[in-house]
Amino acid sequence: MADRRLLSGNEAIGWGAILGECKAFFGYPITPQSEILEFLATELPKVGGVFLQTEDEIAAVSMVYGSSMTGTRTMSATSSPGISLMQETVSLMAYLKVPSVIVDVCRFGPGSGMAQTSQTDYRQVTKGGGHGGYRCIVLAPSSSQECCDLVQLALWLADRYQMTVYVLTDATIGQSCELVDLKTRDFGALPDKDWVIRGLDARGGVRQGFHQHMWDYVGYHQDMNEKYREIAENEIKYEAYCADDAEVILVAYGYVSRMAKGAVDLVREEGLKVGLLRLITLWPFPTNTLRELGSRARRVLVVEHSSGLLVEDVECALQGKVPVHLLGIWGTHRRDSSGIIYPERIVEEIKQMESVA
């Protein structure tokens, strides 16, 4: 029988790290992600891994960079302001093609923000975050099970494409508990890490330049564009829920996508043809799928716990051919930072939208 446990999203991320054979973790505590550190501080050393709580997030990501250069599967986790602090090194890792996995359990921003749930980091993690026009793969789990599975996938993708992979969750996913089947996921063979730094002795005293594009930025960007194209062709993930006959398509990710799924169930009971496109990869974005679903729908409703960030990518994909509506942060059940967007509020929005149609 499978090992099935009640785990918070944060604990499930820790389990995903262990099952995905992450061997080094560097991080600094910040609500709402501290349970990831707490878990790995105890569990990672038990499987021969290294856990270190650093003095801040800049040190954490710098150690991720150093550790990963030795070929070790390495991770960090933080929440929004920590992601901002890490950007200089994330940009450097993008240039040097260093694999890494960084978990962002999003808090309410901007600034130091509030510790409760939100989705205000979408643009930061999907559009680079740091300078230099690079991209990172972004995975967005919507349950504890997916936290466990997608962290394993993130570790694999980081090695496969030699780049930073973000796992973007939120306080709701991070702190809610659900039953998880603890399973090791196999995503296939990986290329040899022939780029790792092994020290002078291992190379007979010959110095090693670890960057194939040193000073050749045009070559770098051409190569990376090729890689981004390959990723967009092969790695897009989403769930289309009740979408085949849908006249209204909801688009959401993270905790909000679960609320939207609940809303689809509620309106389907009343006979309304509503479906959901739940994004699992935020980059690469499922542009073609959305375009196809949109071409059969009368309207699209984006639901996100922010002022409207995901909606920009949705509008871009739909090219003005379908009306796009937004239920944003004003859809939360209370005006303080404890507010969340409930399924019933989404149902209300759908009905209002349809009645003025």
Partner: protein
Amino acid sequence: MLTMGKVLAQAGSSHYRYVTYHPNYGPSMRGGECECTVTLSNKENTSIASRNPSAAILMGAGAWMLHEPQVKPGGLLLVDSSIVAERTMRDDVTVHYIPATQMALELGLAMVSNLILLGAYLEATKALPLEAIEKALKDKYTGTKGERFLPIDLEAIKLGAKFITDSQTGGRHGT
């Protein structure tokens, strides 16, 4: 509030296929109001939480204002009447006013008012056998510094359940 939810979810894990425990607290974990939603189901919990739960346990005036109107018609309200003075105007829900904090003080520990309400909830809904909660509490606290409270925890659960059976047979009613 959060402990009660977590214990209910943990106990539900061996009786239901899908369990979701959704806490919402932020800095309130250090004091102040917080809330959580627990969903026990054999059908997939597509949503993480609902604005209209089938039952609510309310232990503060703020929680009353926010959630009393939201409970589903036909649903259940369990209120700590030692703290919440309000009375519902709704006639489409079952309400139990339980002086849980007072009862907990009589047991000698105000902290177990949550477990009195949890015992009442289980008796009123039969969502889980009391033994499942007792096991979850034992699993959680045996070997920890909370272990010394286990006997009073278990007593509180039973007391809450008894409050409901008594009220159904004309015994002690909430005031």
